[in-house]
Symmetry: C2
Subunit: 103 residues, 2 copies
DNA sequence: GCGATCGCTACAGAAAATGTAGTAACGGAG
DNA sequence: CTCCGTTACTACATTTTCTGTAGCGATCGC
């Protein structure tokens, strides 16, 4: 079942996804996990958010099956999470172009 | 100059972009503008947010040169905004797969 | 003038995020 | 066993952000 999202009550997957990804720190967390697993504190320090919110975002991402906790190595993307990340990787290149256009 | 983002103070474009897109309603607004221009109220009704926040998000998107206001037709994506949207279109398909995996 | 529509703003109350401190569980050293 | 370090995570008062509702000023057609 798709978690009914904060803003949109349609139940359409794309809306639930946009809502999830549109929460503060969520995109950033996925990004930080793109290369290797991270410990809770490590992640918290990297993004500079409070533990409260890091924890609740991780809980949401775990419920969405995009992130999982491995006791030995830390938080990491699931197979599904890596698929999503792959869709986002072009953003990195594009963001450079975008930054130039903003001058 | 890349607007220094709320959460990250690195100045790296990808961080500024993730921060911008990670603000509530931003992804949703871009999504709503994917096909045709929308009027302010139209947009507000479509996403169900308060006018205050719709206006401030639109202001941020205009400053980021992703959205512009055409007096005759309403808010619409700029060329840059359409490029960004193109990167996001695969999300629509992927979200269906994701929803199935969540059962 | 009058009404309709446009983008947008004011403001009080509600919700979410922060910053700091601390808890509970585990593992290894002495 | 006790002590120490590390882990994920929680409590809570303060601050920031968002909502919900009402309304402003400008513009257009009549």
């Amino acid at each position: 079942m798709v978690k009914r999202a904060r803003g949109s009550r349609t139940g359409r997957p794309i809306m639930a996804l946009l809502d999830l990804l549109g929460r503060r720190w969520v995109l950033r967390i996925v990004w930080e996990l793109r290369e290797e697993p991270r410990r809770f504190r490590e992640l918290q320090d990297a993004i500079g958010a409070s533990p409260t919110i890091v924890n609740s975002r991780l809980a949401e991402l775990r419920e969405a099956k995009l992130v999982e906790l491995d006791a030995d190595t830390g938080y990491r993307l699931t197979a599904l999470g890596r698929e999503l990340l792959r869709l986002f990787l072009p953003l990195h290149v594009w963001s450079e172009k975008w930054a130039k256009a903003l001058v």
